[in-house]
């Protein structure tokens, strides 16, 4: 019975949770919010892609990456390059000394499109690049690190350094990348104006659909043998290795998957916000994304989505009402999450709210709470610290 449940793609309970999230994303938010706020939530949801990837890497695999912003940024930049080329028609850029190239290149005395920008004239190539570029980059980093058994804190700090390097590079090579300003003033996608409210709403739904695709992919991985191996690796890496499994390959795979999710999120960010800038690549956004996952619950892919929505919504609201104090609230929230409910909202739900609700509804004759809340809210709890 237990093994049977484990092998099913979704338990009944999980199916309910997925349905609730689908209702929130596709019905409640669009109905309750005006187009402006809906677009904001669309932006928040793009971060949720990263958070889902982090749940797989960190919560399940014990690999904490502080450089997910790199992959988010790479995906976003790939998309932005396509949109920028489309926006830079010779007519639109007639004022420049070299019409037909992006404006920031012209400002930096570049007179011809660099060769590596050329393929981004193609939408197909660009969409492919959105996923492939982050994955290839993650693969290189992953092979270099995991093959040498870099893990835990070291991995976190090295990924952080990579985020710093990429930020400095993007800013320093402003003739090719737009520098600090990023790639701005994006207008159309294959002739379709992405700046209108209708387009933004449509993009919101595309974003939601992609998010669910990623959620299902993540759920599939978790339910597969790979998912269980990941947890085993997180808890007792050496035992898994000595059982004959190629630990590094699994880690590389899940890291690449997280990168692919982040890349898609980045591309959707570019489409919905209308620009891409190095501030989304650096250390601060990368850590913030980890915190989204932590608040939602590092073991729960659905929790990650809720966590992302909640933190960002709080950030926006706080900063609208008390612009000078919101950092205090945000800082306190992170500390509170880590100190008092380390499994985040999802943990709160499955450990506190659900058992009590069950007790309440069952009139005191409660079924015993499941030993390991194997619901959408959680994989098994980490048995020991994720790092050495």
């Amino acid at each position: 019975m237990q093994t049977d449940r484990k092998n099913r793609f979704l338990t009944r309970e999980e199916a309910v949770y997925f349905a609730i999230l689908a209702a929130v994303v596709f019905l409640i938010l669009p109905l309750a919010l005006d187009p402006f706020r809906l677009n904001l939530f669309g932006k928040y949801l793009t971060y949720a892609f990263v958070a889902i990837g982090l749940v797989l890497c960190w919560g399940a695999g014990g690999i904490l990456s502080l450089g997910q912003g790199v992959f988010f940024g790479l995906g976003g930049y790939c998309m932005a390059m396509f949109l920028k080329l489309e926006a830079s028609t010779p007519e639109n850029t007639a004022i420049q000394s070299t019409p037909g190239i992006p404006d920031f290149m012209d400002w930096n005395q570049i007179t011809a499109l660099p060769w590596w920008w050329e393929p981004f004239h193609s939408l197909f190539f660009s969409l492919l690049a959105v996923v492939v570029v982050p994955v290839v980059f993650a693969f290189i980093v992953g092979v270099a690190m995991f093959r040498r058994r870099v893990g835990g804190v070291y991995f976190a700090i090295i990924t952080q350094a990579i985020a710093a390097i990429l930020t400095i590079l993007i800013i320093g090579q402003q003739g090719f990348t737009g520098g600090v300003n990023g790639i701005t003033d994006l207008r159309t996608l294959n002739g379709w104006d992405i700046r209108t409210d209708e387009a933004k709403t449509a993009l919101y739904f595309v974003n939601g659909a992609l998010l669910f695709a990623c959620l299902f992919a993540a759920q599939y991985v978790r339910r597969s043998k790979l998912g269980r191996l990941l947890i085993a690796m997180r808890d007792q890496e050496d035992r898994v290795r000595f059982s004959g499994y190629d630990v590094a390959s699994f880690k590389i795979f899940v890291f690449c998957l997280g990168a692919a999710f982040a890349g898609i999120g980045g591309a959707m960010f570019t489409l919905q916000v209308g620009f891409m800038s190095p501030t989304l690549v650096g250390i601060v956004p990368s850590i913030e994304m980890v915190i989204f996952a932590a608040v939602g619950g590092r073991l729960s892919i659905l929790g990650a989505v809720y966590g992302t929505l909640l933190v960002n919504w709080a950030k926006t609201t706080f900063s609208e009402s008390f612009p000078e104090l919101w950092l205090l609230g945000l800082g306190a929230l992170f500390i509170a999450v880590v100190m008092t409910f380390p499994n985040g909202l999802a943990g709160l739900w499955s450990e506190q709210i659900m058992p009590r609700a069950r007790k309440l509804f069952a009139g005191g004759t409660a079924r015993p709470a499941p030993a390991s809340p194997d619901t959408a809210a959680g994989l098994t709890q980490p048995r020991k610290a994720a790092a050495e």
Binding site: D103, W107, G179, L186, G274, S277
Partner: protein, 422 residues
């Protein structure tokens, strides 16, 4: 959730305008207040902006948190001061200005988000805001799409001319060329070492400086050009390079926290700017920055911009007095702060000329607007939405103020797309 943000108004209720200062300023800033009943709301606001029978709402969009808060605080203060003074005179078209302040949090997507909120949700009639080029570039498409109107206070790299922005700071050529000519003609400087933080404004400014030095200044040359990441704090290596090249002029466009490190290390390395050579000429250090650097560390350096707190004209004396009364005696006022202060006044003048708050009409009325009461002196809005203004060179003193040593005879024409400097 949809209307979770009622306008919060820090500042206005907290700090009553001191009657004396307000009255004095009121007498300076003609014309006198107009009465609201002469301008029915339906007539002055045909596009659904946040204008009522006795109020008009504008936005203030700066970073009050994050790394840029250091720089943007002064702008927020100046804008609030201008708004209070305008209100004390009876407001605009008989309507008091109310403002909604949003925090860009030094994060460009947040700037875009907040700009959109101000324009779409709050329907503000205009926005005073932004500081860095990146934040302006991020909000620009939003302003153009929703037809908002932005007053942007910072000196910047040029190469831009939006119908939805009035640039109250200087664009690069206005700020750079006069200073270079001055240092060449009066100090006989021939060799220049260009140095900057690594982003678009210093790079573009140095590009213009280099073109000017190489093409328009006889016998002059650039002996080095370098950029350091924002936030860089170790400048000993570049200081040694400067020593090796022995330039007449160190042309520095370092910004933010790097500034403090750069000047402290320069002084500690024994490069004495109070002596004849090398001359340090900067376009990025205002009085605001000197507070962080420490006057004793930058004494003797020259800065080239359009405004210094020490300007001795009546407008400026009034302005400095009012600013200190509102925000405290220990405040200093830099170039950008003054430019930010111009924003509300220029908007007021344009609205009154247009007789309407409608963005299209305000835009049409803006070119040719003159402000005789500006602290920097007389300014005028150019067709290209930048300001005609004088350029001045000041020399830093140990007390953190600049002594004005030169000012251009005439107003310098703004030229955001300079021919020959591309």
């Amino acid at each position: 959730m949809t209307d979770s943000s009622k306008p919060t108004m820090p500042g206005v209720s907290r700090r009553a305008v001191l009657a004396g200062g307000a009255a004095l300023t009121a007498s300076l800033f003609a014309p006198k207040g107009l009465r609201a009943q002469d301008f029915p709301t339906a007539a002055v606001n045909t596009t659904g902006l946040a204008v009522t029978d006795d109020t008009v709402t504008i936005g203030i969009l700066h970073s009050v948190t994050g790394t840029m808060a250091i720089s943007e605080t002064g702008s927020v203060q100046a804008e609030k001061l201008a708004i209070e003074q305008i209100n004390a005179q009876g407001g605009i078209l008989g309507r008091k200005i109310e403002y909604i302040q949003e925090d860009g949090a030094s994060d460009w997507p947040t700037f875009a988000e907040k700009a959109k909120k101000l324009l779409v949700n709050d329907k503000v009639a205009s926005v005073m805001g932004c500081w860095t080029s990146a934040s302006r570039k991020a909000v620009l498409p939003v302003f153009e799409q929703y037809n908002g109107f932005l007053y942007y206070p910072t000196f910047y790299e040029g190469l831009e001319q939006s119908p939805n922005v009035i640039y109250t700071g200087q664009e690069a050529t206005q700020q750079i060329i006069a200073g270079l000519d001055w240092v060449n003609q009066t100090k006989g400087a021939k060799t220049f070492y260009l140095l900057g933080s690594d982003y678009i404004w210093p790079r573009t400014s140095n590009k213009i400086a280099r073109k000017h030095i190489e093409n328009f200044m006889e016998g002059c040359e650039v002996v080095g050009e370098e950029y350091y990441p924002l936030g860089h704090t170790q400048f000993n290596s570049v200081i040694n390079k400067i020593r090796l090249r022995k330039p007449d002029v160190i042309y520095a466009i370092v910004v933010g926290g790097s500034n403090v490190a750069f000047y402290k290390q320069l002084k500690a390395a024994g490069i004495d700017m109070t002596e004849e050579k090398p001359i340090l000429l900067t376009i990025s250090v205002t009085e605001d920055e000197i507070r962080g650097i420490g006057g004793e560390n930058i004494e003797g350096a020259y800065a080239c911009m359009k405004y210094f707190q020490s300007l001795e004209n009546d407008n400026n004396l009034e302005f400095v007095k009012a600013f200190k009364e509102m925000w405290g005696d220990d405040m200093v006022i830099g170039d950008v702060t003054q430019a930010a202060y111009l924003g509300p006044w220029l908007w007021k003048a344009a609205v009154e000329k247009a007789g309407s708050f409608d963005v299209d009409k305000v835009r049409e009325a803006s070119p040719g607007i003159e402000l005789t009461s500006a602290p920097e002196g007389y300014v005028k809005v150019h067709e290209n939405h930048h300001l005609w203004s004088k350029t001045r060179v000041g020399r830093a003193k140990a007390d953190g103020q600049y002594e004005v040593v030169y000012e251009t005879a005439d107003l310098v024409e703004p030229d955001p797309f300079p021919e020959g400097y591309q």
